[in-house]
């Protein structure tokens, strides 16, 4: 137990991040927001689709960031929650004709329950053991989705095709653009919620548990409750990301939600900077675009090229995008003084 604890506490992954350092300043936020709002007007539908996927993966990475960066718990099972969210939306839309927008909160609630329940064993496990337990969840999920008695709903191996929604009120925009703005609104709402959550009493409790569990419980934090709560919130957000993903991709199948997805999300979190929420989107960009770049460099060795790029990032900026941002800030400060 203590050996594992040591490993975990030594790792930079759970390094204490002060809560103010978790977000961006108001000015920067507004610039980023404006860029996200305006960009789709100038690009092709395909790029808009990629940007939508960027936001969706960004949301899933953000969810993991709350869990790991906030409460210090590891998870390699995020793909399972993502899959549950995606399937909830797909089944509700295709079998029950429920409006896509309404399926999001339902998926969120379902995944919250699922994550909260799974958070129970998380109470007894920590560090690498917890990572392994969630890993098992991720590997089991694609097979569970293929189960016979679920096949009527899930479509089994064949998966389910999801209908893409048109823009409402006769707005003159393409389906892709509408979905992008819809996703953007959801993502911003969840981002604001997450920032406030981490600044609230609950957020402080999460961070106290992350920094020192014993001290936290001595201060009166209900460790069991807050640990499972962190799992629940993280699962709910991941589930909503999964729902959006199902609508954007227009298809769900067990093969879409394998352990590779969970590892990608984990990778995104590390590259973006653990515990730094804006880094989620940068991490998402890394997991979407860098494999494409690697493929462009060498098709046969795309995996190896990706590995080298990843290694360079981890070696040069071990704290990911957060480190780059801090360096940038310091540089700007120096320039201002001169």
């Amino acid at each position: 137990m203590s050996a594992a604890e040591d490993v975990v506490t030594e790792a930079p992954a759970v390094e204490a991040v002060p809560k103010r350092a978790m977000t961006l300043g108001t000015g920067t936020s507004l610039v980023v927001l404006a860029a996200l709002l305006i960009a789709p007007v100038f690009v092709k539908n395909f790029i808009i689709f990629q940007m939508t996927m960027l936001l969706i993966y960004g949301l899933a990475v953000l969810a993991l960031n709350i869990l790991t960066g906030g409460s210090g718990q590891f998870s390699l099972g995020q793909s399972a929650f993502y899959a549950v969210g995606a399937y909830t939306t797909a089944v509700l839309m295709e079998h029950f004709n429920i409006n896509y927008a309404l399926t999001l909160p339902i998926a969120g609630v379902v995944c919250f329950g699922f994550g909260f329940l799974f958070g129970q064993p998380a109470l007894r496990l920590s560090g690498v053991y917890l990572a392994l337990a969630t890993f098992a969840l991720a590997t089991a999920m694609p097979q569970l989705l293929k189960l016979n008695f679920l096949e009527h709903w899930t479509g089994g191996v064949q998966g389910l095709v999801v209908t893409k929604p048109d823009a409402p009120f006769g707005l003159p925009m393409s389906q892709d653009m509408w979905l992008y703005y819809f996703t953007l609104v959801v993502v911003i709402a969840i981002y604001i919620f997450s920032v406030n959550l981490l600044r609230s009493r609950s957020g402080r409790a999460f961070m106290a548990i992350r920094d020192n569990e014993i001290a936290a419980s001595a201060m009166g934090v209900d460790v069991a409750l807050y640990k499972t709560l962190a799992f629940g919130v993280s699962a709910a957000i991941t589930g909503i990301a999964g729902s959006l993903g199902a609508i954007a991709v227009q298809f769900v199948a067990p093969d879409s939600y394998t352990i590779t997805l969970a590892i990608s999300l984990f990778l995104g979190m590390v590259v973006g900077g653990v515990g730094w929420l804006p880094g989620s989107i940068i991490g998402a960009a890394f997991i979407i675009f860098v494999p494409n770049m690697a493929e462009g460099i060498s098709k046969g060795l795309s995996g190896a090229v990706f590995g080298v790029l990843l290694f360079l990032v981890i070696y040069l900026v071990p704290h990911g995008a957060r480190q780059v941002a801090i360096l940038g800030q310091q540089l700007a400060g120096k320039l201002r003084k001169n």
Binding site: K44, N45, F46, I47, F49, Q50, M53, Q143, K146, N148, G156, V157, Q158, G159, V161, G245, V249, Q250, F251, A253, P254, D255, S256, T258, T260, L261, P291, E295, K299, G300, S302, G303
Partner: protein
């Protein structure tokens, strides 16, 4: 007056002649995005990375084949630009890559992408965009659905076609047989089982027991024992390699010697029959539609000579034992044939039209007598196979080429 009239007649005749010469040429040169006077862009999505990367050999062979066509002058003077992306066998990535191909690279069509769920993920999109999704490399029978999905077409014989061929064989060779079926409980097994029942038609009562197993089961011994107890004397094993080998072993162990048919998926000598035991595998039946690149009986075959020459010249690193290489060659050849048939009218619509008008086309690496035929209501190019029996250390083809069409 006569002179004038003659002149008018001459002019109009000349005009008529001119239009007769020029108008078809003008009318025929029609392009959709992805085609021009010099180039045809073909998109493709392959699992170069990830769990199914063994199939990437198909994509590499196809690329080499198009290189050969380009080196020989292209198709009607147009060079093929083959744009192949990696999806790691993950459906969301397939969607991203398909959209990139259609919306950013502006390909004329997407050809030969691999996988059932990956192609399933883009089928609706391709049909909405009305861009051909040709010769899907997957054995599911759902690609033959021209009414609902007129822009998607399969290529290889579907699992259902193969099963119908076994049904035909059994009805002929063992009309009073009792069939025991062991099937894998997933889309592959169910597709197959349905094909078998369709093939048997009114004689479906010949099946005395159908027993499903899940891939999560470590061993299927009990199922084999149950099938023997049912009194079946024909054993159809709709299994993937690991389970096919187990079934062969167990049947020998309990001294059950039915007419044993295994699916083409598991007809690998090195992967299934050798591990199960060559001696107990003698006499097992299966069916095939491609020539085996490692079988010396094809050394004198004209088609295979061309194939070996192609490999030596354009793809020397390819492993000719790999069934994917033989497969990719034949699929690329079919693609080239369709583009040649399109002439100068390289539109999405005409590509689909020509793909649905293949008549008795015989790629070099398919078994002699297997012909590709398509029609507006038949989007299943290959529907014939030939039975084969395992003898010594290799498969021996026997009997005629059997068509899987019902009622023939």
């Amino acid at each position: 007056m006569t002179a004038v009239r003659f002149q008018v007649a001459a002019i109009s005749a000349a005009l008529a002649l001119c239009t007769a010469i020029s108008s078809p040429a003008l009318a025929q040169k029609k392009y959709d995005s992805g085609a021009s006077d010099t180039e045809i862009k073909i998109g493709n999505i392959m699992p170069y990375s990830g769990p199914a990367s063994a199939y990437a050999a198909i994509g590499k062979t196809e690329e080499a084949y198009f290189n050969k066509i380009n080196a020989e002058g292209g198709i009607n003077g147009r060079k093929i630009k083959f744009i192949s992306y990696d999806d790691g066998y993950s459906p969301p990535k397939t969607v991203e890559q398909a959209r990139k191909l259609v919306e950013s690279d502006n390909v004329l069509l997407i050809f030969g992408s691999i996988g059932t769920s990956t192609n399933g993920a883009i089928r609706k999109y391709m049909n909405e965009k009305k861009v051909p999704q040709l010769f899907v490399a997957s054995g599911a029978s759902k690609w033959n659905d021209p009414r609902q999905y007129p822009w998607t077409m399969g290529w290889q014989p579907s699992y259902a076609s193969e099963a119908r061929i076994y049904a035909k064989y059994i009805m002929k060779a063992k009309p009073d047989g009792k069939i025991g079926v062991l099937y894998q409980n997933d889309d592959f097994g169910k597709d197959y089982l349905k094909g078998l029942k369709d093939g048997l038609g009114a004689k479906a009562s010949m099946i005395v027991l159908e027993d499903g197993y899940d891939t999560s089961e470590p061993a299927i011994d009990e199922h084999v024992v149950k099938l023997k107890a049912s009194g079946a004397d024909v054993f159809i094993s709709i299994t993937t390699p690991k389970f096919a080998a187990q079934a062969i072993k167990k049947a020998a162990e309990i001294n059950w010697h039915p007419v044993h048919i295994i699916s083409n998926v598991s007809a690998s000598v090195g992967g299934v029959l050798e591990p199960a035991g060559l001696e107990i595998s003698q006499g097992i039946l299966s069916a095939s539609y491609t020539k085996d690149g490692s079988d010396p009986q094809w050394n004198a075959d004209d088609g295979m000579k061309k194939f070996y020459k192609f490999l030596a010249q354009y793809d020397p690193k390819a492993n000719k034992l790999d069934a994917g290489v033989v497969f990719g060659y034949a699929a690329a050849q079919t693609m080239v044939k369709v583009l040649q048939m399109c002439g100068d009218e390289l539109t999405h619509e005409n590509v689909m039209k020509q793909a649905a008008h293949l008549k008795d086309f015989e790629p070099d690496t398919l078994l002699p007598g297997i012909k590709i035929n398509t029609a507006a209501d038949n989007f299943a190019p290959i529907e014939q196979l030939q039975m084969m029996r395992f003898k010594g250390r290799k498969w021996e083809l026997f009997g005629d080429i059997i068509s899987s069409e019902l009622g023939h």
